[in-house]
Point group: C2
Chain length 420, copies 2
């Protein structure tokens, strides 16, 4: 453990030194590095695939399951997509150095904010090697230094991807240590990173809930994260029936394994007549429906199972939906406050007062009115790219893009003013 901390301290010191240079690196150099790395991925396509083949072989030897093998695998198209991802980051606006809200104060000084990088960002992720490129690219563009810790299954793939990123930095006059991969697969290194508040400014876990929960519990470094995505759609009594059907179907069935999929449908008692057609459409898509007693009685003849209490608190990430009939808007919001995970909730209503109350009083990172929860996404919101989603309350909430990887400092411009 002491050795792990020593390794981490070495990486951290190099990262801090790199972050100091990256803080004022020009947009031109950062963009050139991203494009250069994309080019290197293409030039070294065969080397990347060969490294990945080593990881795949080892994974097969360890009889690792098919889903993980799929996440681990790189092929020509996936490497090309990684390269294009970096090129897309290169054309995004640079958030660093932007000055806002400058105003004159009565003392004569001008005061405002300048946007600046966070510093050193630790990324802890699982077996997808493309995260190495994505996460490093976003950290680089936002002027931060990244320390990457990927799943041990992907170590050969990650090593070559990280080495090419470092080469691209170095070829463009930027510090190669702005992107560092932890080379050791020893788990103690993760523990060491979580203790390294002296040299890591923030940790972003990318992976399943158990990984994220463990990191959040143990970390002495601030963590940007979300745990669950128990998203709700609430169909108000003043909802348009066709809109309600479309949104409910899209929110549940567009993709099942994603954090912004609807997991519970709430519906006002006066809109119960919409339920049979919604449930029928869901069943036809192969969704298992679990409803409260009122849902079941409203859907006679349809295959609706009785929901248990645990259903309201479950993120299925699968073709399963729970449905509950509520008496009032207040009851819907109380259900969300009790069982929701603060990720994304949507109201379907044509009623102005109900929509306004829902927007104001529901305390989630994204709150929607007449739209599918599936829109809770960095690209859909116009961030250009997304490093993750935060359901925490401090610093950044909802989809996190380049701006979420920065902070602000106050700047003051004077002409010799002193305080009296």
């Amino acid at each position: 453990m002491i050795e792990a901390q020593e390794i981490m301290n070495g990486l951290g010191a190099q990262a801090k030194a790199a972050a100091q240079l990256m803080r004022s690196a020009s947009t031109r150099k950062k963009d050139a590095s991203l494009k250069c790395a994309a080019g290197l991925f293409r030039i070294h396509m065969q080397d990347i695939l060969a490294a990945n083949a080593l990881d795949m072989q080892a994974a097969r030897d360890h009889a690792i399951d098919a889903a993980l093998l799929d996440r681990l695998e790189l092929n020509h198209d996936r490497v090309e997509a990684m390269a294009q991802g970096l090129e897309e980051i290169a054309v995004l606006a640079d958030p660093v150095g932007a000055i806002s809200n400058m105003c004159y104060r009565p003392s004569g000084i001008q005061v405002g904010h300048m946007r600046v990088p966070l510093g050193v960002i630790g990324i802890i992720y699982e077996s997808r090697p493309n995260v190495t490129a994505d996460a490093a690219g976003l950290c680089l563009k936002s002027g931060n230094a990244a320390i990457l810790r990927g799943g041990s299954e992907a170590i050969h793939s990650n090593r070559i991807i990280a080495a090419l990123l470092a080469q691209a930095l170095s070829e463009n006059g930027l510090p190669e240590h702005a992107v560092q991969l932890i080379q050791q697969t020893d788990r103690a290194l993760v523990g060491a990173m979580l203790q390294s508040s002296h040299c890591v400014d923030v940790i972003i876990p990318r992976g399943g809930k158990s990984l994220t929960q463990r990191i959040a519990d143990e970390s002495k470094v601030p963590v940007i994260k979300h745990l669950d995505g128990i998203c709700h759609v609430y169909i108000d009594k003043a909802a348009d029936a066709e809109m309600a059907l479309n949104i409910a179907l899209n929110a549940k069935t567009h993709r099942y394994g994603v954090c912004n999929a609807m997991e519970t449908l709430l519906i006002h008692e006066a809109a119960k007549s919409m339920l049979p057609s919604i449930v029928l459409a869901l069943l036809e898509k192969g969704v298992e429906v679990r409803g409260c007693c009122q849902t079941i009685s409203a859907c006679q003849g349809l295959d609706v199972k009785l929901a248990e209490d645990a259903d309201w608190a479950t993120e299925y990430l699968a073709a399963v939906l729970s449905i509950r009939v509520v008496d009032t808007l207040d009851a819907a919001m109380a259900h969300i406050a009790m069982y929701g995970s603060g990720h994304t909730e949507s109201i379907v209503t044509g009623d102005y007062a109900a929509g306004q109350r829902f927007l104001r009083e529901v305390d989630s990172s994204s709150v929607m009115w007449n739209a599918s929860t599936r829109f809770a996404d960095g690209f859909e919101y116009g961030l250009g790219a997304e490093i993750g989603i935060s359901t925490d309350r401090l610093h950044v909430r909802g989809p996190v893009g380049l701006e979420g990887l920065t902070t602000q400092k106050w700047i003051v411009l004077g002409q010799g003013e002193i305080r009296s």
Copy 2:
């Protein structure tokens, strides 16, 4: 310890319920509560002073030192100032519910941010009873619930102040538990609060460095804080001599015991000729000057002691100043990066390139150009009020006003859009 956690859990549950109501409380009710509390302070002036007299007597019986007695003491003018402080918070703009950056996306949805309260804020402070009113007032106005833990010396004063605040909330239709004082003086309650991430969203310590450091080390709840204020003024070679003298004098001698006072003066080697008049002026104000060898040789005949390495890392909070001559702007910035505390630094220069580099590359919560470090203050920056200063990188940096006690959520307005 279990008992302390139980007490804390009870307070936390009440605070969460109150926060849920405060989140959408009207500006009118919040402002009315603040003004009502100010009125109650005046009506109950004699009761407040009587409670404070109990605290003062107990403090004298325990032979507590004069500085603490002064901080603890309330008199008519101090209670009146507390009341006026609440009235000043009442007239500030309400940050909650403000919507910004709404824009249409190609999908048809409108996306933007709504400013919302943080939730439950824990305030841990020392013996000043006026903090009870100030901190609670800022939390109330920003739609949060506050759990207050003041120094045990001030318990009688704090109890009546908190009770009057709760009464004002209640009389104006707001939850009385939006302001709760921990009634027990047992230290275990502080420990329990620091473990209460399930019911406290953020902790703000107000007090000396040792209190703050202990809280930051032990807390499982995010902490908004600063530890040191080792602020620098750098006099560049292109500085105007009179401006440099004025700023250096103001930054050091305007007040000594404040976190935004200058503790180290850096001066470019080519501006050394300004040193004798600056040092003479400081000595005449009674400041003890500790300089590097070059400073001493530039100030022959003046009483300059030799600075030791420890001086560069010391926040004197007293009439003491360290001075160092540097060869270049880079050397000045390197000194600040090594010894600074990330609080406030100022450059004095007429040179555009030097000023721009300093603004961009110095990584402190406030970076100034031709202004005294004493301006780093919530009132001077136009925040209206200040609950503290943050030198952390996440969420909020520099002076923290009402906006720093809020966060944002995404809001999405649609017309039935679904994701394709």
